[in-house]
């Protein structure tokens, strides 16, 4: 119906996106399984890789930034940021509160976890 406004990406952009996505996923896997990073540095690395993956897919697959009127996209992104903040911060708050109240001691649990998984 809307052929005139339809913007399909080029083969190049899809290939680049695909290769980058696979590479980022493998990097996360290797870094974790081979214990190249551990502890907080691993967490930070994984979050960084996840956000990079998101950006790669937005740019290469969804062609963000090439549309004529970006108003709706901007609104969607702002709302997404709000929702993400609500759910992520809310979950962290809830889970921290529950862990604090429901397990013996935070330090003990952290010791236990690092012995178990090498986090």
């Amino acid at each position: 119906m809307s052929q005139s406004t339809h913007q399909s990406g080029s083969l190049v952009s899809y290939t680049v996106g695909f290769v980058l996505s696979v590479a980022i996923t493998l990097a996360a896997y290797v870094a974790t399984v081979n214990k190249i990073f551990t502890g907080w540095s691993l967490v930070i690395l994984l979050v960084f890789l996840a956000v990079t993956q998101l950006l790669v897919q937005l740019i290469c697959f969804l062609h963000i930034g090439r549309e004529a009127k970006p108003r709706w996209n901007l609104m969607a992104f702002l709302f997404m940021a709000l929702m993400f903040g609500v759910i992520a911060i809310g979950s962290l708050w809830i889970m921290h509160n529950m862990n604090y109240r429901m397990v013996p001691k935070g330090v003990e649990v952290n010791n236990y976890l690092s012995n178990q998984d090498g986090l």
Binding site: M1, M80, M95, R101
Partner: protein
């Protein structure tokens, strides 16, 4: 030889087929029903008609009808689960152990909740949105017609999978949200939870695709002149619901995936050992689950806004405040999820925050209730069946809202958590709110889709059986909950004196069943006697919005000429100004061709889920590859549209108008 097949079919062996008489009966009736249906189709040579007109269609109106048919069948399944539960609890006091074995009772209540939410309420919701949204915004189609068909077929694939658990294997006994650790492999070693995971996962992806599709449709495909603040309220409610689906359903998909990884690949996201945390599952599932209940009820609010305005012959009172109420309910619904697990052990500050946000939702909801009542005030109200559903809704929904605010108080919730009081509360909201709304919608829009009205008298009878049955079934549960009866209880001591209340509740469900019987008779009778209730002109209720401006049944292309609107209630305006269209000049219309690809994709997804459930890994690999391959093949098809020429359009329009006159 047998060993080879054992490995070949994963965990699937002859033991998977039912041995228990009740399950076997259900399995036999499903298989027999399917065979009888197939035989009748062959006898009356209807297969090619079914294939051509329905199964391969991309017309949202037909897809909407199919959604509603599937949802109605599932309503019967969910209702029979409800009857079994009520029979068990009414008979299982003291020395009697009731009519169902314990494990089966657990499967029945898990299936009841899952089916009623995912395959009845969601099915009715998407059915209605498919039927009405394109018509109300003056569009000929949805933004992505093929994706829409895929959504429907994925929903159906999930439905097939959940019913397959009756025939092959077993269903989850872990409740409708399958909390770990109970739902983990250690405590639920059978395939039941896997059936639950994969039927929801497949249907859930379909819902997400629909969410994106209708969001794009409403934003991009409104007819000229229809600004956001001129959209009918049902469209507003659909738009906001779709936004919620886009943000809530990914959480469900991710949570189910993690549970599936725990169960199938030995991971530890939610296990009690290995660093997992079962509380995280509860947190995540409700971060989806609370928005989900508002996803169900907001479209019902939209329906009532249309019904009340039409049957009061008045403009909707407080349109702008209605829109803002919808938007604020949607936002608030994302910040209340902890109220489902106040008792899990969060501190007072956390519980207080989520308790207060929950109570705040009552404010925009109250705004809506008063706006509907003010719309009726000094209107010329016609007490048709949809209006009866509306007034039943106002009463039951207000009671349910009040008990909801009560449950939002953490100290009260500590007493009432997991009691039958809670069960009564959410049935109050979902039956009294969602289901009544969708029944009103079906009665209201039926003549638009089929060209004749549903019988009023039978509809009224159905309404009264539903309302009285509802009160009989759930008021005792409120009382029982206050007396301390917990939910999902398969036996209780006779000295508690609860049995008579359970018997009243069982009678209530029987009365509701009579209501359903009346609805089925209503549909059959209305089809049989349709000559007397024709509404080909397309405007049987003196409607206000664009969908009533077309002939009924609506032609494939919806509008021969895309309308241009200048106000809210555009069709009402047009009727009032008495403007007549002068000799319209029709143009060729491009519509999507039928294709079976959507069905094939869903069939591959079904095989994928089935393979995962039974650990048939070659099937998982094959069908997973099949889904991707089919999508790629479809994406490369170019000849996907056909033309309805201007002459054909003129002919269809003329015959429609002639039949109407």
């Amino acid at each position: 030889m047998l060993d080879f097949f054992a490995g070949f079919l994963g965990k699937l062996t002859l033991d998977a087929f039912p041995h228990n008489p009740i399950t076997a009966g259900a399995a036999v009736s499903i298989v027999a029903g399917t065979l009888v249906g197939a035989a009748l189709m062959t006898r009356y040579k209807k297969w090619s008609w079914l294939w051509r007109e329905w199964l391969t269609t991309q017309d949202p109106k037909k897809i909407g009808v199919m959604y509603i048919v599937v949802a109605m069948l599932m309503l019967l399944r969910g209702l029979s689960d409800a009857l079994m539960m009520r029979a068990q609890q009414a008979t299982s006091a003291g020395s009697s152990q009731g009519v169902l074995p314990t494990d089966m009772f657990q499967q029945v209540f898990s299936a009841h909740g899952t089916i009623m939410i995912f395959f009845v309420a969601m099915g009715l919701l998407f059915g209605l949105i498919n039927l009405i949204v394109p018509l109300q915004i003056g569009a000929r189609d949805v933004a992505f017609p093929f994706v829409n068909a895929v959504s429907f077929w994925l929903f159906t694939a999930g439905m097939v999978l959940i019913n397959l658990s009756l025939v092959v294997g077993e269903f989850s006994a872990a409740g409708w949200l399958a909390y770990p650790p109970l739902s983990e492999l250690k405590y639920s070693p059978g395939v039941g939870v896997d059936y639950w995971i994969w039927s929801l996962q497949i249907a859930g992806v379909g819902s997400l695709l629909s969410g994106v599709n209708f969001l794009a449709t409403i934003i991009k495909m409104r007819c000229p002149g229809m600004t956001m603040m001129r959209m009918p309220l049902f469209v507003w409610s659909a738009l906001i619901t779709m936004v919620m689906i886009c943000f809530a359903f990914p959480i469900l998909t991710a949570t189910l995936t993690m549970l599936a990884l725990d169960r199938s690949l030995g991971m530890h996201f939610f296990t009690a050992d290995g660093g997992g945390n079962a509380m995280m599952y509860v947190n995540l599932i409700w971060a989806w689950g609370h928005p989900e209940v508002y996803i169900l009820v907001l479209p019902a609010f939209g329906v009532f806004s249309e019904v009340v305005a039409t049957f009061s012959r008045k403009r909707l009172f407080g349109y702008t405040s209605m829109v803002w109420a919808l938007a604020s309910i949607a936002f608030l619904s994302f910040i209340v999820w902890l109220h489902h697990f106040f008792t899990m052990g969060a501190g007072a500050d956390v519980n207080a925050f989520f308790g207060i946000t929950t109570m705040v939702i009552a404010i925009p909801t109250g705004v809506k209730v008063f706006n509907w009542l003010f719309t009726m005030f000094r209107g010329r109200v016609r007490f048709t069946t949809p209006m009866l559903w509306f007034m039943g809704f106002i009463v039951t929904f207000t009671i349910g809202g009040a008990t909801g605010v009560l449950l939002a108080i953490p100290p009260a919730d500590f007493q009432l958590h997991n009691s039958l009081f809670l069960v009564a509360h959410f049935h109050n909201m979902i039956i009294g709110g969602v289901v009544f709304g969708f029944f009103a919608a079906i009665t209201y829009w039926f003549p638009k889709i089929f060209g004749f009205r549903l019988n009023e008298r039978l509809g009224r009878s159905a309404f009264w059986y539903w309302l009285i049955g509802f009160l009989l079934a759930f008021v005792p549960l409120y009382i029982l909950g206050l007396m301390g009866a917990t939910r999902r209880m398969n036996h209780y001591d006779s000295s508690l004196g609860w049995q008579w209340l359970f018997i009243v509740a069982a009678v209530g469900v029987l009365v509701i069943s009579l209501g359903v019987v009346f609805q089925l008779i209503q549909i059959a009778y209305s089809i049989w006697q349709r000559k007397g209730s024709m509404a080909r002109g397309g405007d049987p209720w003196d409607g206000r919005t664009l969908e009533w401006s077309t002939v009924s049944p609506v032609p494939a292309y919806n509008f021969a000429i895309i309308p241009t609107v200048t106000s809210r209630d555009a069709f009402w305006e047009q009727k009032q100004s008495g403007k007549k269209l002068t000799a319209p000049r029709y143009e060729d219309i491009l519509m999507p061709k039928n294709t079976p690809m959507a069905m094939y994709i869903a069939a591959a997804a079904l095989a994928f889920g089935f393979g995962f459930i039974w650990h048939i890994w070659w099937l998982v690999a094959l069908s997973g590859f099949g889904v991707v391959a089919l999508v790629i093949i479809r994406s490369n098809q170019t000849d996907t549209e056909y033309v309805i020429t201007a002459a054909e359009v003129a002919e269809i329009e003329a015959s429609g108008r002639k039949a109407a006159a």
